[in-house]
Amino acid sequence: MKLCLFLGCNTPAIRPDVEQAIRLTMPELGVQLLDTEGYVCCPAFGSFPSTDDESWLASSGWNLSIAEAKGLDIMVECGSCYSSLRMGRDHLVHDKKKLARINELLELTGRKLKCKTKVHHVSKILYKDVGTEKISKAIKKNLKGVHGVIQYPCHTLFPSEVVGFEDSPREPKALRQLTEALGATVDTYSHELSCCGGAGGFTNNSPNEATEFAKAKLDAIIDETKAEFIVVSCITCLMHLDNIQKKLNETENTDKYNIPVFDYNQLLALCMGFDAKQVASISSISKDSIINKLK
């Protein structure tokens, strides 16, 4: 299958090792990725979606039209990009008046939108289209005997009517099974389904409370599981849970918070034998403990 890769902003700008992990692993599993040339911000919920529908949906339409011109669907890793594009598309598909207005705007730029292009999350492509069996066969190393936990990206779960792909959105299992396909043991914990708290205004408006919120999750992981790593599939979860541990160690004068955080495709890339320098080299909490455990 062929898909347009929508990178968003944080991945290519701040964590390009995740981008490389995606670019290297997906073709190995039969998913060809083409670039979305000239894309713009998804747009982030704190930007145009918070000002007016026209600027929001015109930007969604701009992005969708690039893939539509190639006759392809879009694949996204970032949770916010995924949700913003999905919700934008949902508005356009269900409201003919809005679509007509957005097409008036897009026409000025020589574009037209029929809303043929769909938007998929990378974990959905891996889970439903590629499948865990194919993944288990494609890896050269594995994580047997290593325990990990999952942080599910909210934007891929809720609202399930618009963004969901899990059979049961309140009991998600895609990332768990994908991680088990790499040989790891996945533990459960009490805060498994809570948000990481890293997106949008919470961390800016209430930095102390947001830190406490993430700390409760990390403490649950430390106290209740044998996890040696955290798996996410959203760039915001990745950056937040990684960076906040460094901050907690500094402010609490401890070294207790040292669980490396991986985007799923990074773990996959490592198990496929790709060079850690290319696919898992940028982090606040070193990933070496896991990289060295791969057999």
Binding site: C9, D35, Y39, S83, F158
Partner: protein, 167 residues
């Protein structure tokens, strides 16, 4: 509470859906909301009340809608299909339409370079990871111009065009 100054049609102006009127104050939208732990807490239920009661002045000054992380838990769990996250966005839209100090600076960044981050500028780092050069809109000046011309026709950019003038 003094309702003599309240604007009974406020809900139509902000969020014209009957579903909002079905809100029965159950607080499901608050339990599980990360930003409800903030200081001050984001309490979606209260915002819904303010809109329904037409408490325009209070709502105008409310900062809490901007603390929402967009996780959409409230949207999933609300038993009355109020779509609380859509309500949050609707309140933000109403605020930024009526108060230019609410217009998020990020839209100026997006207008200027397409993104809120410096996408494609980390050339050396990308090269060291073996990544290709990105075809960003910043590197496609003609596309950038078209995107800006299109945005100029949308209400927020048209109304606040002074924010978007090149220096």
């Amino acid at each position: 509470m003094d309702f003599s100054q309240s604007n009974k049609d406020l809900w139509k102006e902000i969020y014209n859906t009957k579903d909002l009127l079905h809100c029965f104050n159950c607080s499901t939208c608050i339990s599980g909301c990360p930003a409800s732990n903030g200081e001050p807490p984001l309490l979606v239920r209260n915002l819904a009340r303010m809109v329904v009661y037409g408490l325009e002045d209070e709502l105008y000054d409310e900062d809490t809608p901007w603390a929402c992380v967009s996780c959409s838990r409230c949207e999933e769990m609300c038993p009355m299909d109020v779509k609380p996250f859509e309500l949050i966005l609707a309140i933000r839209k109403w605020q930024s339409t009526n108060d230019e100090t609410r217009v998020p600076p990020s839209i100026v960044e997006i207008y200027t370079r397409g993104y809120t981050q410096a996408v494609g500028m980390n050339v050396e780092l990308r090269k060291s990871l073996g990544l290709p050069e990105l075809k960003t809109i910043t590197n496609m000046p003609e596309q950038m111009k078209l995107y800006q011309e299109m945005l100029m026709k949308t209400p927020v950019v048209k109304e606040n065009d002074y924010m978007f003038k090149e220096e």
